[in-house]
Symmetry: C2
Subunit: 311 residues, 2 copies
């Protein structure tokens, strides 16, 4: 008993394909399974992230892929690209892991106890970047509304592959702090971040951070490495001893990598029919395991499928 339970619609296509055999042969009167939906998807429903927006972070545990969001945080995207091209992150470390909150990386000297004289130079990158917490709603961006409601924002949905929120009263839109969101750490002042220290959300979406921090992008592959570090025991989950930190081997921009070495992945378009069908399949689970379909789904509970592209 208990060996299948509970089931989750996969974070990635690989996970979705791993549903147990029972899901392979749904009764004729049931809707298509997530696996079938993905198998039936059309090639045009998938997109390859722009290599100018795709970061590959190499950790001892594996590879983490981050897609930047220059339509929302263009100045941060520029600054992060500059840092990456200077190899700024190579040899830096995971410096903080606070349970049910964030994993943060950057310069270990950049905390309370750090030796500021040993801080790595940001080179040509800016030391601070304007806040970019929200942006005016751009009607030209492909907005896919999620009609299920939201505790925090008047409207939520997806834009260019990112979970997002908008408020027509203020005319602003912003990326939300869902699981896997990559934000820009900063000091108390609003314009004190640069992208030299970044965090990924590893727990319940801390949506109170929305409109208070810049979301630079999203982890699209490798979250399982960022989420499984031992939690730091210092204040706010910072590691207290150098040996507790994990070194970052390198962070590269896909555009700067030889074509053969670039990550070759595809992300399901969030304005595709298949994505809408997957949301509905999770909103109202049809497999035999679920007796009481939720009927609703929260923005941050929706996974965006990623798969290896054909060579």
């Amino acid at each position: 008993m208990s060996r299948f339970a509970p089931r989750l619609l996969g974070f990635s296509l690989l996970c979705a394909l791993a549903l147990p055999a029972l899901a392979d042969t749904p009764p004729a009167n049931k809707s298509a399974t997530p696996k079938e939906l993905l198998q039936q998807s059309k090639p045009g429903e998938w997109r390859k992230p722009d290599p100018n927006n795709l970061l590959e972070m190499r950790l001892p545990q594996g590879k983490v892929l981050i897609e930047l969001a220059p339509d929302f945080t263009p100045l941060h995207a520029d600054n992060i690209r500059t840092l990456v091209r200077e190899h700024y992150f190579d040899g830096l470390a995971i410096i903080r892991v606070q349970d049910n909150f964030v994993t943060q990386w950057g310069d270990p000297e950049d905390d309370d106890k750090g030796d500021k004289s040993k801080l790595r130079s940001l080179g040509k990158a800016k030391k601070t970047v304007p806040s970019e917490y929200t942006r005016p709603i751009d009607a030209k961006l492909p907005w896919t509304a999620l009609p299920d409601g939201d505790v925090y924002a008047p409207e939520v949905g997806f834009v260019e592959g990112f979970p997002a929120a908008r408020d027509k009263a203020s005319g602003q839109e912003w990326l939300t702090h869902c699981y896997g969101a990559v934000g820009v750490a900063r000091d108390v002042g609003p314009e004190t971040g640069s992208g030299s220290s970044l965090y990924a959300i590893i727990g319940q979406a801390p949506r109170g951070l929305d409109r208070n921090l810049a979301v630079a992008g999203r982890v699209i592959q490798g979250m399982e490495f960022l989420s499984a570090f031992p939690r730091g025991t210092g204040p706010l989950g910072f590691y207290e001893k150098p040996e507790q930190r994990t070194a970052i081997a390198s962070v590269k921009l896909a555009a700067d990598m030889p074509a053969k070495e670039r990550p070759n992945i595809e992300v399901l378009r969030t304005d595709s029919a298949t994505f809408a069908a997957l949301i509905e399949a999770k909103r109202n689970r049809r497999d035999d395991f679920y007796r009481n379909p939720a009927g609703k789904i929260d923005l941050c509970s929706i996974n965006i499928p990623v798969r290896e592209a054909k060579p």
Copy 2:
């Protein structure tokens, strides 16, 4: 720069006390900080969990404390107590860790590839327990409503220290699958769980599980150990090799432990004035770091403080 950011109201009192020095001296015109609220709390606002409902799971990483919820899942609480008293879990293992979903423990032979002939006996415990997914609303239980709204349920709030939901139309209430919720794994059929395999939620609250699985309790201390295991690479996050599993040293009921060895902790009452003030402090963050208070808070974003009790 970036060394404090972003801040989180602590999961436990220990974390809350770890807020950086800046929070110690709020301007006179600001509300009390979470740390101050906890310091000002009255002894009667804290409760010691009933030792008959308190489990201590010992892992190599540390101690995990789980509070059972017999007012919601009494038959499961009984069966789990029986299993624990038989030392059923001692020497079993963490068998599954699926990223952004669950950590599950139980008998390693109890999965697809397991050898059923080697399954540990459940002894006097029942092999299956009635489902207990929901229960009729009990007006006698202290319900603390959260007025912020919810995507999944008509009403949410807290009851006896547990995040919960209710639906007056159906007359039912249930415990919600928030971070740290401990649920009863089962097979496809609705009455196939026993409590011999349990899972804890380690990511974005999978509220679609509500009313589909029995919530037996909640991790009140030690979540940082359950959430940081390497993710399993088999289907659904099951570990594929025996050496990937972490052994459970023991699971004991506090009531069965010598008084001196029992966990000596207190949990803030969820019907206390201090808990209400903490929720408001997180709903509308007053510290200088937050420029745009959220104004709302999600049920599963609210942490319930725990502290060491005086000896």
